[in-house]
Structure formats: structure tokens, C-alpha cells
């Protein structure tokens, strides 16, 4: 059976833990999850931060749950994603430098 084309792509192949590619894959995954949460309109539920219910129809518990999901992915997107991309860049530069330098 043929593998789907996206499984052959290097981007989707499992990378070694904490390698530069692993970091970029994690950054991409977080970004996609945040984008989905954002497009789903979960931002509206963050009013729970000041004690106001996000939606009268959904009630307190579900509103708070959706708010937590959004906040976690937002913070990951603005704090963790740039750190992962920067770290991946640093690693790539470091590895290139090591390859070039004589043993």
C-alpha cells in the first residue's frame, strides 16, 4: 500500500527529541492548535479572567474550560513558539559551525 504523500515529507517525519527539527515541528503544532482555537472563537471565553461568564448558554464550567484551552495555546504561541524557533535556529547555526570547524 502506498503511503500518503504527507507522510513522506520531512516535515511530518518524527524528529529526534530536542533536535532543531523537533523544535520546529513542535512550534508548528502549537501554532496550528492556536489558530484552530482562535478561529473557533474561544477568545470570547477569556472573560472568565475577570469573573464574567463567557457564554450564558454554555454555563460556567464549559466556558472556563474553553477559556483555559485558549489561554494555554495563546501563551504557548506568543512565548513558547518564538523560543522554539530561536532555539532551533541557534542549534542549526551551532551544528553548521561544528561541521565546518576542524576536529
Amino acid at each position: 500500500m502506498k503511503e500518503p504523500f504527507w507522510k513522506k515529507s520531512a516535515i511530518f517525519q518524527r524528529a529526534e527529541f530536542l533536535s532543531a527539527r523537533d523544535m520546529l515541528q513542535r512550534a508548528a503544532a502549537i501554532s496550528v492548535m492556536f489558530l484552530l482555537a482562535h478561529l473557533a472563537g474561544l477568545r470570547e471565553f477569556t472573560s472568565v479572567l475577570n469573573g464574567t461568564i463567557g457564554s450564558l448558554a454554555l454555563g460556567w464550567n464549559l466556558s472556563a474550560f474553553l477559556a483555559v484551552i485558549y489561554i494555554v495555546f495563546y501563551l504557548a504561541f506568543v512565548i513558547l513558539v518564538p523560543v522554539l524557533i530561536l532555539a532551533a535556529t541557534l542549534l542549526a547555526v551551532w551544528q553548521r559551525f561544528r561541521r565546518k570547524s576542524p576536529p
Binding site: E16, S47, N50, G51
Partner: protein
């Protein structure tokens, strides 16, 4: 070292270096010049966008009902205070932008009329939290200074922008009733809830009295002076030197100095006693204000006072002890006293963690609510109304 372990150590080191680079830079993506939030003349871009959202709420009854109902589930006071802050903001906006005055006055009148109707129709408990009914007010007949003071200041603010003859007797009656109760009270402390008095409400009520004096030629300067003397003597926390936020009718403290109260108190005092007001702001700024990695925020209590999160403080974010209520109200303090560095850092935090949502020139903060956004709008526009009262100009 094994290759796997070496890779993990190298990866962790890269992550640490990246975090050290990124975290101090993060605020740069959210920082704007202070003029983006507040300007000396005219309206700032943020004020204009926030105002557009509020004006939409008062032209779309379904949207307004949805917003107000969401707040009333937690706190009926917010419904009322959202109205107050918006009316006070619109008064300042009318003075800042005379071309739009007719629209702003129309909205102010709509809010005031509906608030008075609800108060008359549903009674004063409609805008109070349920525990107001648990006990009897010490002073009878029952009155809440919270409602009377803010309604009086709404009426006075509207009349300061432009006289409306129908509101003159309403203001006079409300102010006379407050003054009468101050004169009858042995310690000049009036209830907002049964045997529960709030510094915030006293300062707002005294602002309304001062404004009414300016409008109608009265003179209650002795009453204001005497009340400030009482506050300085009996209602100051000895450790921080800040005014406490709530107390019983005999002056016994109920809560200590609180961020959700003191920033507005300092602002209100600025109309009554500038030196005392600035002293209170500076103490609050030192004890409660903080800037970390370029982001400004405020604590609810000073280090010397231990309190628990409540409906006013909002949830307290651990580690940094950030209070949403105090941080929101800190905009009003910083705006009043021209603390641009703190104001700009607060605004950066707001754009970072307030979850702004913009639609066709209208701005709301999702992590806030209608009253929170109205308080922010007030912080972005305050100034001209106080200045007009200070100069004694009636129209």
C-alpha cells in the same frame, strides 16, 4: 557523553538561551506610545475604538442585554458601574471633541434615564449584590451611597457638559439627601451595604457634591474638608499610609487598602484635595504597581496586608500576584497623575493579556467585560471634566 544525552543537553541549552533572548523582547511587540491610549487633546485611537464599541451597545438592545446579563450573573454592581463609567467618559469626550457632543449627550441621557427608571421600578437592590438584603441598613430609611453617589455624579457630569433643566432638581434632591445623611451621621460615614461603607463611594459622592456646587452655586467646602480630615485621621492603614477600602459606620475597618479601590479613590480625591490625592497615588504606585519585563500590572494588596481574592480584585494570578481588578483601575490612577511610563506599560499588558478584539473600528477586550472596558475608556478620556470643575466654569 552519549550522543542522545549530548543532543538533549545541547537542545536544553539552546532553549534556555532562546528564552533569555526572547522574554525581555516580548513586550516590544505589544508596547505602543502612550498617545495610542491617551492624549492630552482630542481622542486617542484606543479611546475612539473603545467608545465605538460602547456606543454600539447602546444602539443595539439585544447586544446590550447579552453583555449586561453576562455581567449580572456575577455581579449586578457591574451593570450599574458600567453605566457610570460610560457616562463619565462621554462627558469627558464631549469636552474633548465638541463636534460629536450631540451624539454623546444623547447616549448619556439614554443611559441616565434608563438607570433612573430601573432604580425606580426595581428598587435600589436591583444594582446591588444579593447580600444587601441579608441585614437591615443601620440608617433608616435605607440608602446606598454607592448608587446615590454615582447617579449624582452622572447627573452632574451631564449638566457640566450642557445644562439639562430636567436633571437639575434630580441632582439637587440627590445631593441634598447625601449631604443630609452626612450631617446626621456621627462619623460622616455612610452605608453602601448594611453597615458596610466604601471609600470609593464616599469619594465619588463628594465629587458629585463639589460638581453640584459648581453648577448651582452651593458651598459644601466645609463638609468636604471635614470628611477628608476624618479620612486622614481614622481611615488610613498605618503601615502603608493608604486609605482603607471599606469600613463599618463606626469606622472599624472591614478591608484594608485595596488596589481595586485606591486608584479610583486617588482620582476622585484629585478634585477635592490635590496634595492628598497625589500622596495616595504615589503610595499606591509604590506599594501596588509593578513593571516586569516591560509589562505593567498591579497587586490588590500591599505586602503588609494579606487579603483573599474577591469579586472586586478578580482572580489573582499567582507568582506575580497580579489582580485584574487592580490592574484595570490602575489605568485611571496613572492617567490622572500623568504617570506615562506606568500607563504605557499597563497598556502593553492589556494588549498582551487582555485579548483585544477589533471589528470595524470597534474595540473590546475579551478578557474584560463591559464595566472593565468602560473603566478603560474613562482612563483614556478623563481630565477635561475635572479641569472644568476646578476652573469653576459652569457651561
Amino acid at each position: 557523553m552519549k550522543p542522545r544525552m549530548k543532543r538533549i543537553v545541547t537542545g536544553l541549552a539552546a532553549l534556555m538561551i532562546a528564552a533569555v533572548i526572547w522574554l525581555p523582547c516580548l513586550h516590544l511587540f505589544f508596547s505602543r506610545p502612550v498617545s495610542d491610549f491617551r492624549q492630552d487633546q482630542g481622542l486617542s485611537p484606543k479611546a475612539r475604538q473603545l467608545a465605538a464599541r460602547h456606543l454600539q451597545l447602546w444602539t443595539d438592545p439585544a447586544l446590550r442585554e447579552e453583555e449586561l446579563n453576562k455581567m449580572r450573573v456575577s455581579n449586578a454592581e457591574w451593570d450599574f458601574m458600567g453605566r457610570s463609567f460610560l457616562v463619565w467618559s462621554l462627558a469627558n469626550m464631549s469636552l474633548r471633541e465638541p463636534a460629536s457632543k450631540p451624539l454623546y449627550l444623547r447616549t448619556m441621557d439614554q443611559i441616565i434615564d434608563e438607570t433612573l427608571r430601573l432604580e425606580k421600578q426595581e428598587g435600589m437592590y436591583f444594582f446591588l449584590m444579593p447580600y444587601a438584603k441579608d441585614r437591615h441598613y443601620m440608617a433608616q430609611p435605607a440608602h446606598s451611597l454607592f448608587l446615590d453617589g454615582e447617579i449624582a455624579l452622572m447627573l452632574a457630569s451631564r449638566r457640566m457638559v450642557e445644562e439639562k433643566p430636567e436633571y437639575k432638581p434630580l441632582l439637587t434632591d440627590r445631593v441634598n439627601a447625601i449631604v443630609g445623611r452626612f450631617q446626621k451621621s456621627p462619623r460622616m460615614l455612610l452605608e453602601s451595604y448594611p453597615d458596610e461603607c466604601w471609600m470609593f463611594d464616599h469619594c465619588v459622592a463628594l465629587d458629585a457634591i463639589k460638581m453640584a456646587d459648581c453648577l448651582d452655586g452651593g458651598d459644601h467646602s466645609a463638609l468636604i474638608r471635614d470628611w477628608i480630615a476624618v479620612a486622614r485621621q481614622k481611615l488610613v492603614d498605618p503601615k502603608s499610609g493608604m486609605l482603607i477600602s471599606s469600613f463599618e459606620t463606626d469606622g472599624t475597618p472591614l478591608a484594608g487598602p485595596e488596589g481595586s479601590s485606591i486608584w479610583m479613590v486617588a482620582h476622585s480625591l484629585e478634585l477635592l484635595d490635590e496634595d492628598f490625592a497625589r500622596d495616595q497615588y504615589q503610595r499606591a504606585r509604590k506599594e501596588l504597581g509593578a513593571i516586569t519585563l516591560g509589562f505593567g500590572y498591579a497587586h490588590e494588596w500591599p505586602d503588609s496586608w494579606k487579603g483573599e481574592a474577591n469579586i472586586d480584585s478578580g482572580p489573582i494570578i499567582p507568582v506575580f500576584d497580579i489582580s485584574a481588578g487592580s490592574s484595570g483601575m490602575a489605568f485611571i490612577g496613572a492617567g490622572t497623575f500623568g504617570d506615562d511610563k506606568f500607563l504605557a506599560s499597563l497598556a502593553a499588558t492589556l494588549d498582551f493579556a487582555g485579548f483585544p478584539s477589533r471589528t470595524v473600528g470597534r474595540l473590546k477586550y475579551c478578557a474584560s467585560n463591559q464595566v472593565g472596558d468602560a473603566a478603560l475608556l474613562y482612563a483614556a478620556t478623563l481630565g477635561p471634566l475635572w479641569a472644568k470643575v476646578k476652573t469653576g466654569a459652569r457651561q
